[in-house]
Symmetry: C3
Subunit: 501 residues, 3 copies
C-alpha cells in the first residue's frame, strides 16, 4: 500500500515539476577565478509599509560564481509579505519570529474550508476555502519551488526576519541568471530590478504599477475576472502609493482558516513526542493569534475531519504527494543537532533526505553554533557552493583556493554573508560565546570532505603515503593521523577555556 | 511479464540515449532582459525542387532567451525531405497534409521486410528491408531525438506544412546554441548556416557539396562503402544542382514497404475505437498511395505476422522499447480535447505522460482553438519557455514581465510566432471565428499557473490574504475569488456573442 | 536481499554524490563553430622529482567546445603522485605501467587494517588503517569523481604513463570551466594555473606553498590537527623545494597494506576465470612489490577475513555500495574486445553498464586497435563529444562538420589528441601495422551512428528513399546498401594486403 502511495507521489512529482532531478548551471566563464572573497552586508534597502527588504547585489562576483542571490526580509507585527513567485527556487531561513506562510500549487485542491455557519437565516453564505496554510517559527528552513506563489505573515509582536537564498543557477530557471520576483499585487519595484539596470541600459517605461496584473489592459482583466473596474484598478496597483511596498500592514490582523494551536496538555508524553516530531513544536507554543473560526470547534473532532490536521499523527504516506508536501523543517538551535559536542558546539543539516521537497530544488542547508574558541576543522564542499550567513556573534574564517592562496582571512559577524565556492577549503574559529550561522548549499545532498580530524582525508590515506606526501618521518605521520581525536568540531584548548572562563 | 519488458525498455532507453532525464541549459547572461517581444514571421526562405524551408533567425533575442530555433517546411506532392539529423531535439507539428516519415535508430533492427517474390525462376533476388516507416497526418506532433536521422515524404496532393522547433538549449546538445542540420545528401547549404555567419566571420571554403559525405575524400568512401566512384560522387552531391535542395521531387512517387491502409469497414465499432486509439485514425483514411507489395497480402494474416502491425491491437509492452517507441501523437482539432467549452474553444496538450519519448527530449506541446472573443485567462508557464505559433485566424495577446511591464500587446496572426518566456504572464482573446495555435514548450511536463478563474492562484489564497494583498474590502475579495466561474477558457460575454452572431 | 542491497547502494549513491544523473553543460556561445581541428601535442611540461606532468591548453577552442581538459602524467619507479582533488570528474587511461592508486571517499570506513603484531612486549602499538588501495595496470580506465582525493604510485621499473581527461563541462562542476587541481601537499603550481593567467590578469601573491593547507594560518592548523609547528610547516609545503613537485620519489619504496598478489597456481581453471573476471588478471602477474605485512599471512585465510579480498569471488551485492565501488576496468589490448575482426582490428568500450561509477561521472571510453590499411567507417557520436588520443602508430583521420566541410584531414600520430565534436562525422585508416588509440567520450552511454556498413543509417532507410535521396538508380542504391559486408571495422582490400605483406 505504501509502495503504491509512493509511486503515486513520484508520478505527481513528475506531473507538477519539471524534473525531480533538477541540476545546476555552471558559472559563466572565469566567474570563479576569485582572488579575494568578502564578508558582505546587504547593499540595498527597500522600506515597505509593514517592513523592509534588504538585498545583496547579485552581480557581485562571488554571488555570480555561486549562481545565487541573497536577500533579507523583515516583517513587523501584522505585516503581510504579498504573494509573489520567482524564476528560481528559494530557500528561506527564519532568523527570528513566528508566523504563517502559504504557497499556491497549481492544480491542487483548496483543502482548508470555512465551516458551515450556524445562523442559517440568511441562506447559503459565501464559504471561503483555500490551499493549506503553514505555521513557521524561528530556525525554520522553508523551501519555495520555482514559479510557486508564496506569501508570509507575522502575527506576533517580535519582528520576523527571513533570509532568502534564490538559486538562479538552478536548471529549473530557464531564463538568465538574474533573480526575478513576480508580484501579484502592489506598485513597488521588484527588489532585484535595480541590479538588472546596472547591466543593461535602463529604458524607463511609463507604467502605473509593477505587478503581474498591471501590464494587462483593463478590458482583458475585466473579461478574465468578471469584476468591475474598481477591483481591476486595485489588482493593477493603480492609485496605490508606491511606498506601501511588498510588505503591507494588515489593520486588525489577518483572519485565516487554521487549526487551533495545540496546548502542551500532556507533559508526560511531551518529551518523546518532541523527539519524534520536533518540528511540530511550535504548534504547542502559546500564540497571540487565534483563528476565529477554529476556536468554535472541538479540537478532537477536527483532528479526524481535517486533512491538514492528520499530518500530526504520524506519516500516512499521502503526505508525500505534492499538494501536501512538507515545505519546512526546523534546523535552529532548539532542534536536535546532528553533530554535538557540549564544549565545541552543534551542527544540524537539512538535505533532501530530511525534507524531500529539496530534491526538486537541489538545495540544502546547515545550521551551526560554535562556542568561544571552538573551531570547525578545515574542510571543503564536495559537490556544492555554499553561502555562509552569520546569525549571531562573530568568528574568524579562512578560505583557501586551488592555488593555495588565502582568499579570505577575516571576521564574519552577524548579518554578513560569505560565499565558499565548491572545493575551496574553509575553517572557522568562534570569537564569541556563541557564534551561530546558517549555510545555504547548492546541492540537495551537499557533502563535505574534512582535512583534519579522525574522519579526514589524511586519516584515510596509508601511513606511508602520508609520510611521503608531506615529507614526514613515519612517527610524525602517525601524529598527524591520530593526534586530533575529534571529527568536525574541535573544542577550545584547555588554556583557551581557562582564559575565556 | 510487463514489468520485465518495462525494465528492458528502461535499460534500452539508457542504452541509446544520453539520459532519460535530459535537462535544459540556462540562457546566456542578460539574454532574457526583454523589454519588448515581437510576433515574428520567418525571415529567410530557401526554395527546393520539391518544396520550401523557411527559418526564423535563431539569433533573435527572444529565441536566444528561450534557447530554441524555429523553421517551417513545405513539401509538395511526391516531395521527399532528404534524411538529416540535428544537434538538438526537435518537435515537429504538422500544420497541414499527410505523408510518411522515418527515423533511424542506430543499433535497431530493420523490421520492415520485403516479402519473398513468387517468381523464383531468377533465383534469390535482393530483398529490401529497413527500419519502421510511420504515417503522419495533420495535427500530429512528431518527436525527433538529437542525432537521429529523420526524413519525411508527402504522398498526397495537399502540400505538407510542418513547423519545427529545435531545442538548442537542451542538454542533449553538447555543442553551442547554434542549430545545426547534418544532411546525408545533396549540395544545399544547411538552413541555419547563414545565421552562423552573421556571428563569426565567414571563411568561405571551396567545397563541392554540403552534406556529411562531401567532406570525406573519395578513396575513404570507396573503401568504406565498397562502391564505385560514380556512386560516391552521387553521395557527395557532386555534379548536383544546388537548387535541388533539401526537399527533392520523386518522379513516379516513392515505393515504401508499409502495411496497407485499413478501411473503415466496421462502422459499428468505430466510435469506440476512435476513443481508445484516436491517433491511428489516419490509417483508415482513403489514401492515394498504396504500397505495391502490401496489396498482395491478406490483411488479417499480416496483423499477426508483422511487428509494425501488432501495435494497433492494444499495447503489448514491447512497444515501449526504443526501437519501436511511439514517435507521434495527434493533438490537432480532430483529436479529443483536454479542455473543452463549446462556446469558448478547446485545448489539447501532449506531454511525456502521453508520448513517453518526450521525456528524453524534454519538450511538450499544446494545441488550442478559441472561438471569436473567447479568451484564455492570464496565466504563466511554471517551468518552461513557450513558443506560440498561430495556425489559423488571429488573436490579441498580451504578455507581461516581472516588472509589470507590457512586453507584448498586439495581434498574433496565422504564420507568426511569439515567444513567452518562463514565468511571464500571458492572456489572449480571439479576433477570428476560430483562432488556432500550437505552443511548443521546453519542458516535457510543462505546467501553468492561472491568474484568473476558479483554479487560479487568487482562488487558492485565503480571503483575508486576497483582501489585504489587493487592498480590497472583504466582499470585493469575494467577488474576485468567485465571479469568474470558468477555469482556463472564458467564453465571450453575452453582448459580444450577439455582436459576433 | 539483493534488492535491499541495491536499494541501499542507490541511496548511498544519492547520499554521497550530488546526483546520479549528472549532466553536462553546453559550450559557450559560438565555441563550436570550428572550421579547423588540429591533432595537438601537449604544450606545457612540468618536471617533478619523480616524474613529469604535461598539459594541453584547455583554452584551445576545440577543448573549449568539448568542455574538457587533457593532461599526461609520467611516474618513474617508486614515484608517488601526491594526493589531489579536482573540480570536475576525471577519466584516466593507463597507457603504460603498473602500480597502486587510492581514492578517499568521505564518510567511508578505513577497511584496510594493519594486522596485530606478534611482539606484544612493547604494549599496544599504533596500528595503521586506511581506505581501500587498488592495483592498476596498462590498459586500465580509472574513474575519479569530482572532489574525491586521488593518488597513484608506481612500484615497477617501467615508467607509468597516464592520460587524464577532466570533464570541466560536467554539471558536477559548479565552478567555471577552468580545470582546477587542489593539492593536499607540496609547493608546486597546479598544472592548469598558467592557462588561467592567460585569461585574467595575474595578481601574483606572496605565498609559501601552493597546497590546500598552505593558505591557512599556522595557528588554525595547529589547533585543528593538534600537531606541532614542524609538522604544520611540512603540511604547508614551507621549506620545500618547488622543484620537488606533484610527483615525488619515495626512497626505499612505499609500504602499503595490500592483499598479496595471487600467483597463477591453477592453470587448469585459469582460462575460464579470465573470461569471467578478466580485469583481475593483473593480480596474478608477477610483481616486484610485495606488501611486507601481507606476506606473513596465509592466503586462504585472508580471502575470508578481508573485505577487499572478498570481491574476487563473485559479486555479493555489497560491492555496489559507494565505499567499495569498482573504480577501474581494463579496456587495453589484452582485454577481450567488443568488436573484433582479425584482419581489421579490435574495439573495446567501457560505459556505465560496464563500470557503474561512470554513471555519476557521465563519461565513457573506447579503446581501438587497427591493422595496417584497415578503417573504421565514417560515423558520428550521437550524444557525446569525443577526444581521440593516439597511443601507438599513426592513422589518417578525416572529420566533417555540418556544412559538409572537412575540418580535419591529416595524420594522428602517437601522443597527439584530436577532438571530434558531437555529431561531426569521422573516419580513419591505419597507416601503421598497429594503430591504437583511446577515445574519451563525454557521456556515460555514448552511442555512435554509422554512415557505412551493414548497420549504417543508409541501410536502415527504404531502398527507394536511398535512391531518391542520393539521386541513384535502384540497382545502385542496392549496391550502396549491400556492397560493404562489414559493420564498423573494414579490413584492407586484397591489393593493400598484398602490398603491405
Amino acid at each position: 500500500m505504501s509502495t503504491k502511495l509512493l509511486a503515486l507521489s513520484l508520478s505527481l512529482c513528475f506531473l507538477l515539476f519539471s524534473s525531480c532531478f533538477a541540476l545546476r548551471e555552471q558559472s559563466q566563464q572565469n566567474e570563479c577565478q576569485l582572488e579575494r572573497l568578502d564578508a558582505l552586508e546587504p547593499d540595498n534597502r527597500i522600506e515597505s509599509e509593514g517592513g523592509l527588504i534588504e538585498t545583496w547585489n547579485p552581480n557581485n562576483r562571488q554571488f555570480r560564481c555561486a549562481g545565487v542571490a541573497l536577500s533579507r526580509a523583515t516583517l513587523q507585527r501584522n505585516a503581510l509579505r504579498r504573494p509573489y513567485y520567482s524564476n528560481a527556487p528559494q530557500e528561506i531561513y527564519i532568523q527570528q519570529g513566528n508566523g504563517y506562510f502559504g504557497m499556491v500549487f497549481p492544480g491542487c485542491p483548496e483543502t482548508f474550508e470555512e465551516p458551515q455557519q450556524s445562523e442559517q437565516g440568511e441562506g447559503r453564505r459565501y464559504r471561503d476555502s483555500h490551499q493549506k496554510v503553514n505555521r513557521f517559527r524561528e530556525g525554520d528552513i522553508i523551501a519555495v519551488p520555482t514559479g510557486i506563489v508564496f506569501w508570509m505573515y507575522n502575527d506576533q509582536d517580535t519582528p520576523v526576519i527571513a533570509i532568502s537564498l534564490t538559486d538562479t543557477g538552478s536548471s529549473n530557471n530557464q531564463l538568465d541568471q538574474m533573480p526575478r520576483r513576480f508580484y501579484l499585487a502592489g506598485n513597488q519595484e521588484q527588489e532585484f530590478l535595480r541590479y538588472q539596470h546596472q547591466q543593461g541600459g535602463k529604458e524607463e517605461q511609463d507604467n502605473d504599477g509593477n505587478n503581474i496584473f498591471s501590464g494587462f489592459k483593463r478590458d482583458f482583466l475585466e473579461d478574465a475576472l468578471n469584476v468591475n473596474r474598481h477591483i481591476v484598478d486595485r489588482l493593477q496597483g493603480r492609485n496605490e502609493d508606491e511606498e506601501k511596498g511588498a510588505i503591507v500592514k494588515v489593520k486588525g490582523g489577518l483572519s485565516i482558516i487554521t487549526p487551533p494551536e495545540r496546548q502542551a496538555r500532556h507533559p508526560r508524553g511531551s518529551r518523546q513526542e518532541e523527539d519524534e516530531d520536533e518540528d511540530e513544536k511550535e504548534e504547542r507554543q502559546p500564540s497571540h493569534h487565534k483563528s476565529r473560526r477554529g476556536e468554535d470547534e472541538d479540537d478532537k473532532e477536527k483532528r479526524h475531519s481535517q486533512k491538514g490536521e492528520s499530518r500530526r499523527h504520524g506519516d500516512n504516506g499521502l503526505e508525500e504527494t505534492v499538494c501536501t508536501a512538507k515545505l519546512r523543517l526546523n534546523i535552529g538551535s532548539s532542534s536536535s543537532p546532528d553533530i554535538y559536542n557540549p564544549q565545541a558546539g552543534r551542527i544540524k543539516t537539512v538535505t533532501s533526505l530530511d525534507l524531500p521537497v529539496l530534491r526538486w530544488l537541489k538545495l540544502s542547508a546547515e545550521h551551526g553554533s560554535l562556542r568561544k574558541n571552538a573551531m570547525f576543522v578545515p574542510h571543503y564542499n564536495l559537490n556544492a557552493n555554499s553561502v555562509l550567513y552569520a546569525l549571531k556573534g562573530r568568528a574568524r574564517l579562512q578560505v583557501v583556493n586551488c592555488n593555495g592562496n588565502t582568499v579570505f582571512d577575516g571576521e564574519l559577524e552577524a548579518g554578513r554573508a560569505l560565499t565558499v565556492p565548491q572545493n575551496y577549503a574553509v575553517a572557522a574559529k568562534s570569537l564569541s560565546d556563541r557564534f551561530t550561522y546558517v549555510a545555504f548549499k547548492t546541492n540537495d545532498r551537499a557533502g563535505i570532505a574534512k582535512l583534519a580530524g579522525t574522519t579526514s582525508a589524511i586519516n584515510a590515506l596509508p601511513l606511508d603515503v602520508v609520510a611521503a606526501t608531506f615529507n614526514l618521518q613515519r612517527n610524525e605521520a602517525r601524529q598527524l593521523k591520530s593526534n586530533n581525536p575529534f571529527k568536525f568540531l574541535v573544542p577550545p584548548r584547555e588554556s583557551e577555556k581557562r582564559a575565556s572562563a
